[in-house]
Symmetry: D4
């Protein structure tokens, strides 16, 4: 069985639907991961302990998703030297801008790698790019994934050339 | 000597000039306080310990100032049941909006009381309003302060009535 | 019967659904409260009188919710020395950002404690943290509430460990 | 001596420099005015009383300038049926956006007429447009002012046609 | 039949639903008005002509609603000396913030009175406040309207005192 | 058959519904166009090649629609000297503001012509205005289109004059 | 002497310094232009007339710079079928965001091509790209300009490779 | 001599002062790097080639700084499977918010790791965290750096405890 390489952390089970995109991508790339709930505010000691022990447990990267004040990625980054990827979650009146600012504007000394609001899939791909520098099998999968991305676009382009815009859209319904 | 009632926390010494307004206001109201540096990201265990022990050390409220990602007030609030007042600091490219969002948009369960960006003086006054519900001497000082606020406005209004706008402004130079 | 400790004020009955979260939380914590409608713009004298008499009526804190220009919390704070907690309501084209700015950016001298947009539950918890410095029974309830928050997260975490993300989400439907 | 027609209100003497543009414009249009300091938060009763008595004192319009939470125009509008013109003042970290939102987003029932951030001159011109519907002499002055505006632009256009951009800018230094 | 006093202008029939709130309010206050469609961009000469002739046709104020770039109120104000009230319409991706900025940030010399995004009702009330300085019957209606506003709040407050929050909300359904 | 004059490029088939407005407008103006899918990030070489060869293939303008980071218009502009028109697409948490900023804030040296968020119809009209400087038949169609725009407004204005606001809106349902 | 091809319009002489970047670029590309002052609000008839007659005077494109409400580009576009390029000027409290929104969010039917805030140089380059579709000499100059842009970057890159970051920056002082 | 591990790319020499913070941090951590100028818009082929060959040249991570439209990090990420870290540069009217949005809001499939506006130091630390998963010597240096961060805070805290706020600030001057 593959070693556990990525820890995916959410502060609340309401963020699980967002994080699913990361889980599916990690599976597609063959990267073993775990998903845990640990809140920076409601279970701060557990969150701290998770980050503190992550490296010695063999994790290579942490993905943390959070909305609103979104302190979770920064709090985890404070307790580990692993790369921490933060996913701002679109929630509440500010639509995720609050989470984006809170995740990306970390003070000098303790970095968090921010991806797009609700960008869980890219968080997984960024984790894969990171792991690929140490793991050739992940690198191969990433290179293959990039080719599939391109060929997916090409296939759609060909279909559009054949059907035209109206035909293409009609066929989607 | 008066009991220590308010803990003023900054994550970096660069926030000390902002917090001075709180210190002066607390002194004017006769409320004993301490100022400490404890970073949510660089010394997270120290920050946690400060909040965890604050109530038993007799503190009644905590004021925390932070800029950028500004996790400090929320992290402190996670480790104490005391009221925590957050002062967003105007710094960097986002001018304090990042800090405001990060401080005010706390998730349900763990409140922080946000004041204006750079609003350290009002943080002190809010702490005083809080303490006043338990301490009649602070209540008296607050009531007196409110009267002085009003009479200060009245004095300026009278001066303006006498000098006119141009005269008033000329006399300020 | 418990003494009335918290006044919850809305400027319009359209804000009542938002404020319900505060009412439920106050009840859970055993804090007696009242809810009143008093508009800063349509019944300004009533709002002023409510705040002016709040302390002598025994209230220890005021929670005021408002959307749009959201002057209510600041207007109440102008007429009392009690701590006033402002809840920005998410309404209209600006989604509550207008209310947040209007509530949190109070001028020096008259503080309002802002919580998150629609953060009525946290307004109640902040009121409880304030009252707890004068009332040991509220302090006990708050400490217990914090433990329940943590154990609620732990229960979900255990359930997630058992079911996995897909299973957890499927079971929610 | 001309009847007093416009009341110009600021909540703080720090707003006097902004309001000067309104005073000069009112003088140029021959509209008698007074300037008073009355704070919505520090002297709320005085502000209320000013608005309440404004109509019977013969005022036809009120101009109120405020920064930050900027409750003053709305509070005045709550106590009078006169048209109230609000000038958001550019101050603090939010640069006047807070004041703009707080002034313009008034709830249905109590209108305030917002002008641009720091737009005191236009506040005076708006007051003049209002008064002009009842006062033919002000109407004449406004029409003349509009012609002067146009001829001022024409003079600059002619000068630019003569000097070219570089010459025009060089001559300004 | 009453003289026509207010011109209500929209640039597109898609803005008619928003402007209905102004029409109803003007009718309630007994102020005669007309509604016209004239676009600043698609029929600029018509819009210019409407504003140019408004005063001599006896109008006392113009209300103009517009979304997006929202040039209509400013364009009208350029061609008349009457007070022009601008209503930013909430439409498109920017939710009316574009319209608000475009309406309120007019350059010095040509004022527009901005009300809240979608604030058509207040535009009518502002027009009424303006007209009231020349028309005692409108002043009487406005004073009465203000009293009704207050008594409406009082009635709801009394109902809330009787039913409680839960009961009040249940009765609304 | 007419020469191909405009290339319409989208980075993803999810942007096709937005771009339909451009296609319909181009057809109405008799301007031949093609629609292609080429992603700045997933098929960057194809996008580069498309722009590099556009001029020699006879295209006179390129319209590119993109959401989120929205690099496509700028990347195309880097590889061609043709005018490139960028359409920010309203998608995701930031509602198209991200795409607008990314498209409009191009560095000095490489311009992109930005239109409104989701403004595909205007992108087509802008392309037509551009082509009209070289093609009298397009100029004629544009002049005719402008007259139709005006007469469309006039027809609605006449209908409104006849039906009134309530009648007009009722007839739309 | 070269035919006049581009009209550069500003509403106020305070925008002349911004527009200088456009003038210099147009000169470098050998495109004849004129600069005029015509205000959408203070001289609306002149602005309308300028746009109305631009095509018959032989102009191929109009560049208009404006700050604040920034109605000028849209007003010009309403009176001509030529391509109009709008330059939002950074001025006042909103730093040009108001001007950007007002220029770019034009309603369907009347396009304006927006460039970056203060992006006058790119406005000139966009005008050149437009004119290049009808004028081979401008096309040649644009292609040459693009090559110079690239070689300018290459020269800096070579210098950096030689001096290192510290040396490069030191040599700049 | 140490292998080259990190490529630092700027699109313009005006971004070199910002990127210096990254260079100094990389040096402090003993990570060999190079700095190159390659513009996504002015030398797009060079930028593409740099990214395309980066992995085979042995680089493990790319740091790219850009302001305004800030397409550089995304363009580089399109041509490589290495982790790309984007540094939004604070420049121009939008103060870096444009660059932040353009860097962080990348579409699914091609991730960029965004750090704070002007956060070059954290970009270097994030690169170090990434490299540390493959290089134990970097891991050791990172762990040591984290300890130094903490002890730096402790030293300041001790100094503050000794001098008080006023004394501390006075000593800084």
């Amino acid at each position: 069985m593959a070693d556990l390489l990525v820890g995916v952390v959410v502060g609340s089970d309401s963020d699980l639907p967002v994080i699913q995109g990361a889980c599916e991508m990690l599976e597609q790339l063959g990267i073993a991961y775990e998903v845990v709930i640990a809140s920076a505010h409601r279970t701060p000691e557990k969150a701290a302990e998770y980050a503190r022990s992550a490296a010695e447990r063999g994790l290579l990267a942490i993905i943390a998703a959070a909305g609103g004040a979104a302190h979770l990625p920064g709090v985890l980054a404070a307790y580990t030297h692993l790369p921490v990827i933060g996913v701002p979650v679109q929630t509440g009146a500010l639509n995720g801008v609050d989470a984006l600012y809170s995740i990306v504007q970390m003070p000098a000394g303790v970095p968090v790698a921010a991806v797009a609001i609700n960008g869980a899939k890219n968080a997984a791909l960024l984790a894969a790019r990171i792991i690929s520098i140490a793991d050739p099998s992940v690198r191969e999968k990433l290179i293959q994934y990039k080719m599939e991305l391109a060929s997916g676009v090409e296939a759609k382009a060909a279909r559009l050339a054949q059907l035209g815009v109206a035909g293409y859209l009609a066929a989607q319904k």
